[in-house]
Every structure is written in C-alpha cells, then in structure tokens.
Amino acid sequence: MATTEEIQSGLAEILEEVAGVLPADATPEKSFTEDLDVDSLSMVEIATAVEDKFGVAIPDDELANIRTVGDAISFIEKNQS
C-alpha cells in the first residue's frame, strides 16, 4: 500500500510525463483543467498511467468527478487494495 506522500509523488511523475506539469506545481489543491492545463484527453492517459503504477482503475464516469490533484490522491488511496 502506497502512502499519501508516495501517491502524491507518483502522481506528480505521471503528470510530468503525460502533460509536462512541473512536479512542484502538482499540489493537492490544484485543479487539473483550470490550474494545470490538463485537458480531458490527458486525463484519460493519466488514468491509464495510474492503473499501471498503483493498480487502481479509474473508469470514465469516475474520471469526471476528479477535479483536483487532491481528488485523484484520495481516489487512489481509497481504492488501492
């Protein structure tokens, strides 16, 4: 089980790789679309990368509810087995 810190840094790595977001910017309160310029298609790829890294699948309907980096972190935390 990954800790909150591990999830945050893992997610930051994914954001950098998929969408070119600087790791320092990937803080929990940031909105993907508004603050980080991550659009709906990049979100799909982030979901895929999250599944590879943490084994947590994020279906399209759940993806729509994930607005901030913090939302993603808590979703992963809740759903990791």
Binding site: E17, V18, D39, S40, L41, V44, E45, A47, T48, D60
Partner: protein
C-alpha cells in the same frame, strides 16, 4: 482417411513495390468548420491535431479516388496493369453494399479479370488488406496485387455534429504488392473487440456515423502497444530499430501517446499526415506513407511499422520494408 488435395506453390514472401495516393481537391480549414458548428481552430488543433482536411466532390467518388491512387502506385512501382491479378479495396464508406467496388476499380485501370473484392475493417482496413494480399502471394493465389484504402467519409458524417465533423476527411492510398524471394511484408498481428462494436457505428442506411470518442481514445492509447511490439518481434526487427512509424491517423494525441509508450529510437520518422488530411480511415496509412516517401522521410529499404485501428473495434499491424 479422405483424399488430400494438391496445393499451389507460392512465393517465399511478398514485398511492396510502390505506393500512390489521391487527395481530393477541396481543402477545408478549421475556420470553415467553425462557421458551421460551435468549435474553434485552437480546440481542433490541440485536441486532435488537425489543421485542414480534404472533402471529396461529386466527381471524386470512392471508386474515382481508388483508381487515381492505384494508377499512381502502378506508375511508381513500374508494374503494368495487365500483370495485376488481385485487387483489394479496403473501405467502410462505399456508397452502397452491392456491388463491391474492386471489380469496377480494376476495370477502369484496364486490369483484366483479377480476383477482386472489398474489405471492411474500417481504419485497420489497409493493414488487413495488405496482410490478405501478402498471404495470397505466399500461398500462390496471387503474384501481383493492388491493395487500396479509400474513403469518402463525408458521405457518412453529420456536418452538424461537432464530435465527428471536425475529424473525418476523404482520400485514397494504394500499394502494389508482389511476390519476392526476400520478404518485405512481415507477419500481421491483428485482432478485434466486438464488445465495443457500438463505439463507432452507422445505425442504418439513412444514418450518420456516431462515435464514443472517449472510449475509442482510451482503447487506442492502452490496448495497442503490445500488438505493435509483437508485430516487430514476429518480423525479426527490434522496435528500437524501426525507421518509420505509420500509425492510423485518428488523432495526433493518440500518435503522441503511442510514442511515449512504445520504445522507438529517438530519430524514428513518424507519420503526422492527419494535420493536413484529417482522419481518412483505411486511406490514412497509405496516404501518410506516400507523402513520407515523396518527402524523403521514408527511404528505400527502411523498416516501417504500420498500425491500423478503428471501428469494429479492429486493429492490425505489420512491419514492411519501404519501396
């Protein structure tokens, strides 16, 4: 035991001798589309990577475009029409299901009595057709085949649906495939996922195409890398040695995502013809490759990985040696 039949002796392998393309005359820009539906040049460029596409006119039918592209492929390959014995037209936008288009295409090219049929594997159609042609050559059913990918998708696209009208365009591409002692068409890796058959579909004869873009995007960016690697492996080529990557031109973001997940060398030449052609389904791979050859980005003897995927859902990939 019942009696066995004798078989023909085929060639050791098949090889592509030349490519040809046909791009409809009318160029449609994003600004022109923005005048009709609620979208912008900026949105289309960032989400799908298209700057412009071609729309075929009344005198540019699927058959007309097929004949033009195939004629050019014959000319570049130096093969005579009379030597062609097999014609395959990959298309999913024929104006009607009967008759198939391939016999008429062959007739207009003055190819006499070839085996001729249409094949519908949507955007994977060219790769399916190439595989069918190469296998026919290896089994001795064919010696010189024409494989054409041709689409008039605008006939089936609702120009008021901003989810699809921004993406699809028209065009045709073709290849001449011939028997060869040195194989230049590698084994195909193909497959399908019929559970997602509704993801891209036309409900009936008076309907337009509908598409669940998000589902297709997710599938294309996650499910295809393994098949691409496998196609390289079967051809005996490390993916890191591939010179040219020609994925179906569905969305530039899908191309970029594939580049992140597949381990190509840094200076691999990558098809980005979607910028000027939009998504032309089965035509996109031969259209893109013809342009790359003409610009010198794909050179004689280069290894190219082709990867088609689309409605069905279907996919197919193989490595070829560029003519």
């Amino acid at each position: 035991m019942s009696r066995g039949l004798s078989l023909r002796k085929g060639a050791a392998g098949a090889r592509i001798l030349g490519f040809g393309d046909y791009r409809p005359r009318r160029i449609v820009t994003n600004d022109e589309i923005s005048q009709r539906v609620d979208t912008t040049d900026e949105w289309i460029r960032t989400r799908v990577g298209i700057s412009e596409r071609r729309f075929a006119g009344d005198d540019e039918s699927v058959v007309d475009m097929s004949v033009a592209a195939a004629g050019k492929a014959l000319a570049t390959s130096g093969v005579l029409a009379q030597d062609i014995d097999t014609v395959i037209v990959a298309t999913c936008s024929a104006p009607a299901p009967i008759p198939g288009l391939a016999p008429e295409v062959a007739h207009r090219l003055a190819i006499s009595a070839p085996g001729a049929f249409d094949l519908n594997a949507a955007c994977a159609g060219f790769c399916y057709g190439l595989s069918a042609a190469a296998d026919a050559i290896r089994s001795g059913s064919a010696r010189y085949a024409l494989v054409i990918g041709a689409e008039k998708l605008t006939d089936w696209t609702d120009q008021d649906d901003r989810g699809t009208c921004i993406i699809f365009g028209d065009g045709a591409g073709a290849a001449v495939v011939a028997a060869s002692d040195t194989p230049g068409v590698g084994p195909v890796v193909w497959g399908s996922d019929g559970e997602k058959s509704r993801a891209i579909s036309v409900a009936g004869r008076s309907s337009f195409m509908t598409m669940d873009g998000r589902a297709v995007y997710r599938w294309a960016t996650t499910q295809l890398a393994d098949s691409a690697h496998r196609a390289c492996e079967l051809a005996g080529v490390d993916i890191g040695e591939i010179d040219v990557f020609v994925p179906h031109q569905a969305n530039l973001r899908i191309v970029d995502s594939m580049l992140r997940t597949m381990k190509f060398k840094d200076d691999v030449a990558v098809a980005r013809d979607i910028v000027y052609s939009g998504n032309t389904s089965s035509a996109s791979i031969p259209l893109a490759l013809t342009a790359m050859i003409e610009r010198g980005e794909a050179k004689t003897g280069d290894t190219a990985l082709l990867l088609g995927f689309g409605a069905g859902l279907t996919y197919a990939g193989q490595v070829i040696i560029c003519p």
